[in-house]
């Protein structure tokens, strides 16, 4: 039998040809820069698997990059791998240079991080966009200070950027009280300090004035009153599904059509972080002050409810010390967080939009787990294949949760 049937399900995504790449691009239009990045991913897939560069080679390439950008020779000291993160490779180092002012006699030692893509990723994204949004939020939201970007891999083996080393920890060093759940537990004392900042920073981010969007040339700027940008975002997720999935899933097809048919027109254009949750910020463990928000690669100009519902995704939840209360991103109940947000922001919280973006984010998370993670591991595209392979196993929990919420939405 088997020959004919197997030919019918050949994995055309493993070695995609131009016809397939073009057909997917045409069917699911996305933002300009996103289109560039996803198309590049598909062309790159046919190439060699990812070979982890040596630390020495990366230090050499980074030194050349910074020297070229600064206009004089610099040296890197104390270079070391930085652990954490499933999608990008990071090297921490101290840069001996003349400092931001660049006085010829100045000698400054600045701790920095080189963050570079691998051949494939769970979140294929643009270093150019990440660099732009980090520059935009500088002084508004705590975030690493950006220095240089190598968006087209002119110096580094893959596109990358250089930013300042941010102090703080992503999770408490001590063991917290007994809780269950996949999300990060901060414990009651730390939680009380973090929650107000967590919400207020999100409200601040979403209220950045549109006059500042000129600093984001790699982002398509949406129009208030139109749902075109939301449909582009749905298409972005769908395109990843189309490009990366190992096998089809009828539920995903149903949800995609619903998301397009029900996309709400924007009532306000916000800078959306796209991955705003526990684990993606650093804090000072003693004071409980948030020192930096990380992982801006999924940032878009869009609807604030996207971030609001992302915070509440099941994979970032845990049950509190009372054994009953479900804490979203380790912070509070959904109602508490939305009420705090409404109080901190002049922008409202709309239940209908929460419902829509609840489905949108569940769809996106399922795509990233069942398609992007699984494919990146399969093509040996990263330095974390074994991790991506592992988290792909979360995909069916995410899909079941999507199914459950979708059923309620269409009931």
């Amino acid at each position: 039998m088997i020959g004919a049937t197997r030919a019918g399900v050949a994995d055309v995504r493993r070695q995609p040809d131009n016809a397939l790449i073009d057909a997917i691009r045409e069917k699911f239009p996305v933002e300009r820069e996103i289109d560039k990045i996803l198309t590049r991913k598909m062309h790159r897939r046919a190439g060699l698997s990812f070979q982890l560069p040596s630390l020495h080679d990366l230090v050499t390439a980074t030194t050349v990059l910074i020297s070229a950008r600064a206009g004089y020779p610099v040296t890197l000291e104390r270079a070391r791998w930085l652990s954490g993160g499933a999608s990008k490779l990071q090297v921490a180092f101290d840069l001996r240079w003349r400092g931001p002012e660049g006085g010829s006699d100045a000698v400054v030692l600045t701790p920095m991080v080189m963050r570079m893509e691998t051949a494939a990723s769970v979140t294929e994204s643009s270093r150019r966009r990440e660099f732009e949004v980090l520059q935009l939020v500088d002084g508004i939201i705590p975030a690493p200070q950006t220095y240089w970007v190598d968006a087209d891999a002119e110096f580094l083996p893959y596109p990358g950027l250089i930013y300042g080393f941010a102090s703080g920890v992503a999770k408490p060093s001590g063991d917290s009280a007994k809780v269950t759940g996949l999300g990060q537990n901060y414990g009651p004392e730390l939680r009380a300090k973090l929650v107000p900042q967590f919400v207020e920073m999100l409200a601040t981010l979403h209220q950045i004035h549109s006059s500042q969007f000129a600093a984001l040339p790699s982002f398509d700027v949406p129009e208030v009153g139109s749902n075109a940008s939301i449909i582009k975002q749905v298409n972005n997720a769908r395109r990843i599904w189309e490009e990366d999935r190992i096998e089809e899933e009828p539920v995903m097809e149903l949800v995609y059509h619903w998301l397009v048919a029900n996309a709400p027109p924007l009532d306000h254009v916000s800078v959306v972080h796209g991955d705003y949750r526990s684990g993606n910020f650093l804090f000072d463990e003693t004071s409980g002050v948030i020192t930096a928000w990380l992982d801006w690669e999924g940032a878009v100009l869009g609807d604030r409810h996207q971030d609001l519902t992302y915070v509440t995704m099941p994979i970032f939840r845990h049950i509190a010390e009372d054994g009953q209360t479900i804490l979203m991103s380790g912070m509070g109940t959904a109602d508490e967080l939305f009420a705090r947000y409404a109080a901190a922001s002049r922008l409202g919280v709309c239940p209908e939009r929460l419902r829509y973006f609840g489905i949108f984010n569940r769809y996106l998370v399922t795509v990233l787990l069942l398609a992007a993670s699984a494919r990146a591991a399969q093509v040996a595209g990263t330095h974390q294949d074994v991790l991506l392979n592992h988290v792909a196993g979360l995909g069916y929990i995410a899909l079941d949760d999507l199914l459950d919420n979708f059923r309620k939405a269409v009931a």
Binding site: G8, P250, H257, H390, D400
Partner: protein, 173 residues
Amino acid sequence: MIQSFETQLQVSLRALGEIVAPALAGADKHVIEQLHLVMAALGFMQARLRSEVGFQQAELEAYLALAEEVAANFRKHRASDCAKLIEAVSAGRVVLASATSQVGDYQHSTRHLRQLVAALASDSSSEAEAADYQVIVLARSGAMIGDARLWCLPLGFELDPTALPRRDWLPVA
């Protein structure tokens, strides 16, 4: 004597857990993390090695039932679209009934059905048709996704494993 896959996995996991892991105690965090993930992957294989045939058969059976219901519903209006699906259902039934079928055969038959069933959703020509399709897919998907969750159980992500159903393809503990 050729050792079984089960023994190969058992000795590998024991060496990694009892010899290699303690020796790496001072290594970089990401090195230790990757070691534990390798052990998790091998442990998953060890836990599911004897269940794979049963799981793949059950998944194919579930997709055959879904495809048959979809085909029966759309046959009148979408004869040409359903022809491929009906053909794939027949081929899938042969695979399922054959004593010589292997895991890859079940898997590829299921993938073919997944592909054809999903394609019908994207091509639905009327709202009523799309609604009918949705009812069928939503009614049958819960159990199939539940089985996939059960398959992935040894990865350790489930908060309440006892809430997942028991299935015949799982060996008796």
